[in-house]
Symmetry: C2
Subunit: 365 residues, 2 copies
């Protein structure tokens, strides 16, 4: 969907003219009341569910949760996945042409925020003729977008489902993002963000950034179970540069894969959107006062072993909602997988989400 | 101290001819029974205590713990600090000349292990005429050396003081080391470890490595207290490449400082020594069977907020000692500072160490 009217951004500038790539699943009902918006996290996209014809292994990133008969049932709901501006999966981003210069944006792509993304998504819904969402749902950075929807467009959201998220990043969260950014920016192939014109990609930096990310997505326990101190070869090779342990092999593989498909400028933009998200900042840090603006009913889900966005951070959201006498269901899922759990098919987690959507479906009937 | 006889290493090779830099504090008593060896961790050295004449701010890295009247009282004990081979503070390391080639070792410096270091330290004690240590003490990687002493030279150690350490690294610990190493190795100025001959230093990689390290040294809580979401400027600048948050400024400063004085090959060697340390591996992973070799009395200390080497890892050591009916005191200090706590002047922590050394002093009297 192309948008000719500029999108004003928090940074003070505007996105002049932009395209949003989106996918939909299921059918919008007659009164347009069964729409569910799925917000994506760091390296995901509009491709939430299903596979592309003739493309094996093209499952959407939340295909285990979204589809016919699945917890978010596309036989009942009209599900929308939209790629956010600044991303690298089709919507206008740093690799696209800056109309002001005729060159790719590169590092000049405007710094977008969670709120800007939500505004862009709202315009897409306007075009689709959807006034109110049955639900907005997201995990991690996607959960932040769901929260921002409930605050920015309170009357357009009946239910807000925020999974494995936080009301803002902690200093440690920002620190991990900053190290990842430094790895990218200090890669000589980054060229200040204008690597497209040099025909190179800062792969070394992207690899390190992704390796750091992966450590924070997994719990200490699951890493220990999956890899422990297992060696790749039968014996130690006594080398500082070669792989010795399986965990090293796994991280390098993840880093290599990521550096092949992800854009470095997008990585910087998306980690910054995470850093900046802090709706309570406008209310002196008071999350209770902040959440007073929300009108939706909430489902908040966290995972016991998630040390990136720990259950304590979800409970802050729940407390602020309870303080405001808002209706909120909270599930703290005992799952071993750390932050990654929100993407995995855990029976108790999916059971909670399924039950919640069944309740929403009943409201529709 | 120069050593002409080769030091056989675990990797199968040997260090041909080497020098160990060391410092001593206090006076060795007549029966040579009051010697305490202090083992250093990642970026520390033989310079444990005191300041150098005419050099302000040259305090030793454990100056708050070691000195006249301090918990490890140099009026009573003869304290030895020794820089390990492979380090970059004077003992033979990768920047020194490889006698086999006449060129700096660089990446060809043999891969040294905790056990190799302990063997090198034992030879130094031989030369100093010290048969038995009143105590060996170390924190973190230094604590691993203390444990290795108790296993490798059981009759030469009366007391073993292992602080903020672990019987081996977890998969997550190895993962952080591996990311740091990748940052260094993939810096184009690394030149496969032979950067000396190119007249460059892989500073970008060292900076990122140190930033990652710093995140793991501090607790989430102390980072939150010290930095939280404080901005450097009065307002957000909306930049992906410039500093916005104080935590970013802190990490960059630490990274820059480190890259000015630390050697990249040493960083690889020392993180590998951490990875490889696993005395129980020779006993099928059974730490109880492993610790049966130890004859010393033990003090084990951990810190509640240390998520790098958590109290649970120290309790594994304590359990293995108790299983063997060894004498062990264990203190789990409630301190907010994370792994860094072992270097800080915490009253309860220093009180425990002081009391333990007073007990050792009584045995001497």
């Amino acid at each position: 969907m192309h948008f000719a009217e500029p999108l004003p951004l928090r940074c003070g500038c505007a996105l002049a003219d932009y395209t949003l790539v989106y996918e939909t699943y299921g059918t919008l009902n007659a009164d347009k009341s069964n729409a569910v918006l799925v917000c994506h996290a760091l390296n995901a996209s509009h491709h939430v569910a299903g596979t592309y014809e003739g493309q094996a292994r093209s499952e959407g990133w939340w295909d285990n949760l979204v589809g016919p008969g699945k917890p978010l049932d596309t036989d009942r709901f009209f599900v929308i996945g939209v790629n956010n501006p600044g991303s690298c999966f089709g919507s206008t981003g740093p690799m696209h042409i800056n109309p002001a210069t005729g060159q790719p944006y590169g590092a000049d792509f405007p710094v977008v925020t969670v709120e800007d993304w939500v505004d862009a998504q709202a315009r897409l819904l306007d075009r689709l003729g959807i006034d109110q969402l049955a639900a907005v749902i997201g995990g991690s950075l996607g959960g932040m977008q769901a929260l921002a929807w409930s605050l920015r467009y309170p009357r357009r959201v009946r239910h807000c489902i925020a999974i494995a998220t936080a009301p803002n990043l902690s200093a440690q969260n920002i620190a991990f993002n900053e190290v990842a950014r430094r790895a990218i920016i200090s890669d000589p192939d980054f060229h200040g963000g204008h690597y497209y014109r040099h025909g190179v990609v800062p792969k070394r930096g992207l690899r390190v950034a992704r390796m750091i990310g992966h450590i924070t997505y997994l719990s200490d326990d699951v890493m220990e179970q999956k890899f422990g101190r297992q060696l790749r070869a039968a014996e130690l090779g006594y080398s500082t540069q070669e792989i010795e342990f399986q965990i090293e092999s796994y991280l390098r593989y993840q880093g290599d894969k990521f550096s092949e498909y992800f854009d470095a400028n997008t990585y910087l933009l998306i980690t910054r959107a995470l850093d900046y998200f802090d709706p309570a900042a406008e209310h002196g840090g008071d999350l209770t006062r902040t959440m007073a603006a929300a009108q939706a009913k909430f489902l908040v889900v966290s995972f016991t072993t998630d040390w990136r966005f720990s259950p304590a951070r979800s409970r802050e959201i729940v407390k602020a909602l309870v303080d405001n006498r808002r209706e909120v269901s909270y599930a703290e899922i005992d799952a071993p997988h750390g932050h990654d759990a929100f993407l995995l098919d855990d029976a108790r987690y999916h059971g909670v989400v399924r039950a919640y959507f069944e309740r929403i479906a009943k409201e529709l009937a």
